[in-house]
Amino acid sequence: MQYAVIVYETDRDLDQRSNPATAQQYMAAYIAYSKALSDAGIARGGAGLLPPSTATTVRLRDGKRHVQDGPFADTKERLGGFFLIEVPDLDTALAWAAKCPSASSGSVEVRPLLPPPPR
């Protein structure tokens, strides 16, 4: 089964990762985690995202186009990135999600991937 391990960071997390004084230490935990995923042979993809302040959101409503600076919703914890992993079951996916550094500060959401559409 493939799962997305979706990382939500707090504003404090985001500050730590943007601040040059703390960025290296913050990212070291993520580098170690993502290396552990690939060494375990379960990593299938993923990406880290730049902070929500860099986001631009587009909507089409009743034929009208809306373009807005910033993320689609202002939330306490913000989408920071995701990992795609392939593991036998949800229990295993949760065990890996608990090892994700943001599990102890923000939140980590685990969701199964939609199966690919039939050809």
């Binding site: 230490q25 580098i31 170690a32 985690y33 552990a36 995923l37 949800l90 949760l94 608990a98 550094p101």
Partner: protein, 414 residues
């Protein structure tokens, strides 16, 4: 599970009464779920009111009286699913009169523990079932301790109880001829309850930490109920050795402190004393099972830190027997640690190399490898191994500790 000690003590009495009642009712109906459902509301009321009003004189009678209407409702129903309920109501009536008069309510929780760890049930559900049916923990709490989705945990528990009922598994203590294997399953399930909190939540999590205390309580009961079985004493000794040092695993600001740097004045000496005594009692028997061996190893480590001396040969012998009796990745990695302590880091590393691929994603194996590489002056490789261990850790304090070590090794390798 409330951190306040008075509240916690009251809760313990409520959980014990709950466990006795569920065991009593389920033994006579074969239906654990119906027994739990029958007193669930009364139990919730007890958890709410007893801490405020005090524990009643006859806690089981209180619970049964509070559940009385539920029994009447039950006896009126006649759906297929509730076929056991009229019978349950009848049995509850006799339980009520017994609870009102008897000095102590019959304690059949031991039989219930054996049913929970029955070989017909999936081994993964043994511990959750014990925590629910015997200790009265809810599925949500159990799900947190085992890091499983709450809905999945509820489902597994429901299915396990269905299987107990449908296959007609008797809730009883097995006969002497099958006791050995069955007892091992019970003790292993209790041990799994204790270790769940380290594997998954870190010792700072109050819920997972509480599960650890429930496990010690269960081990204590097993020691009282079956003192003639040395492994029950071995298990309790093992848990007490671990628990006695758990506070010292954290420093003043919550940072991780490895065993060799722990402040031994923060160890609970009375717990260690109790563990030593249990181990001595267990050792009078001719056989040494897995839990006695592991407890004996803990004893050697504790002794080494307290008195600065360790009998390396004795430790290696204990590991050799343990690996024969109950082979596991944990024991193999522990054995490598002991070899390194006795014969140096190079020998330890060779032993670790021979453990094989099953420790590829086992955090303690990478932490040990890193330590040994560092001792051998192979700093760049040590840094890689520390990073690997950090990536496999789910405890933020441990992760920080390992990343800091990796950084130190990384800078001295340049």
């Amino acid at each position: 599970m409330n951190p306040d000690p008075v509240h916690a003590a009251v809760e313990r009495v409520a959980r014990a009464s709950y466990g006795r009642l569920v065991a009593f009712l389920a033994r006579r109906t074969g239906d654990v779920q119906a027994a739990e459902d029958a007193i669930a509301e009364a139990f919730a009321a007890a958890l709410r009111t007893w801490p405020r009003d005090g524990v009643p004189d006859k806690p089981e009678a209180w619970l049964l009286r509070a559940a009385h209407n539920r029994f009447i409702d039950a006896s009126r129903r006649d759906s297929v699913r509730d076929a056991a309920l009229p019978e349950l109501a009848r049995i509850a009536q006799s339980a009520i009169s017994m609870a009102e008069t008897n000095e102590t309510f019959p304690d059949e929780r031991l039989a219930m523990l054996f049913a929970c760890a029955h070989p017909a049930l999936d081994a993964g559900v043994h511990t959750p079932l014990m925590l629910q049916a015997v200790m009265g923990l809810d599925a949500g709490t159990i799900a947190i301790a085992f890091l499983v989705a709450p809905s999945a945990m509820s489902q597994r528990l429901v299915r396990a109880k269905q299987k107990l009922r449908q296959t007609g598994i008797r809730i009883e203590v097995p006969d002497a001829d099958e006791l050995g294997g069955r007892l091992e399953a019970v003790l292993s399930a209790i041990y799994a309850a204790y270790t769940a909190r380290y594997n998954d939540a870190g010792s700072l999590d109050p819920i997972a930490g509480g599960i650890g205390l429930e496990a010690i309580e269960l081990a204590r009961l097993m020691g009282e109920w079956m003192p003639q079985e040395p492994e029950t004493l071995g298990l309790l000794a093992l848990l007490l050795y671990c628990e006695a040092r758990s506070r010292a695993r954290r420093g003043v600001s919550g940072e991780y402190v490895p065993l060799d740097a722990q402040d031994t004045t923060r160890w609970d000496r009375s717990m260690i004393g109790e563990a030593e005594e249990l181990l001595t009692r267990a050792a009078r028997s001719a056989t040494a099972g897995r839990f006695q061996l592991e407890a004996a190893l803990q004893s050697a480590h504790v002794h080494a830190r307290l008195h600065g001396e360790i009998d390396h040969e004795a430790v290696l012998r204990l590991y050799a027997i343990l690996l024969e009796t109950a082979p596991s990745v944990g024991a193999a990695v522990g054995h490598s640690t002991a070899i390194a302590a006795a014969h140096g880091p190079a020998a330890g590393l060779r032993a670790l190399d021979s453990v094989g691929s099953e420790c590829d994603s086992y955090q303690p194996a990478w932490a040990l490898r890193a330590d040994l590489l560092r001792q051998l002056g192979r700093h760049a490789e040590a840094a890689t191994a520390y990073n690997r261990a950090a990536g496999l850790s789910d405890d933020p304090a441990v992760r920080q500790f390992l990343l800091a070590r990796a950084a130190t090794c990384g800078s001295s390798s340049r």
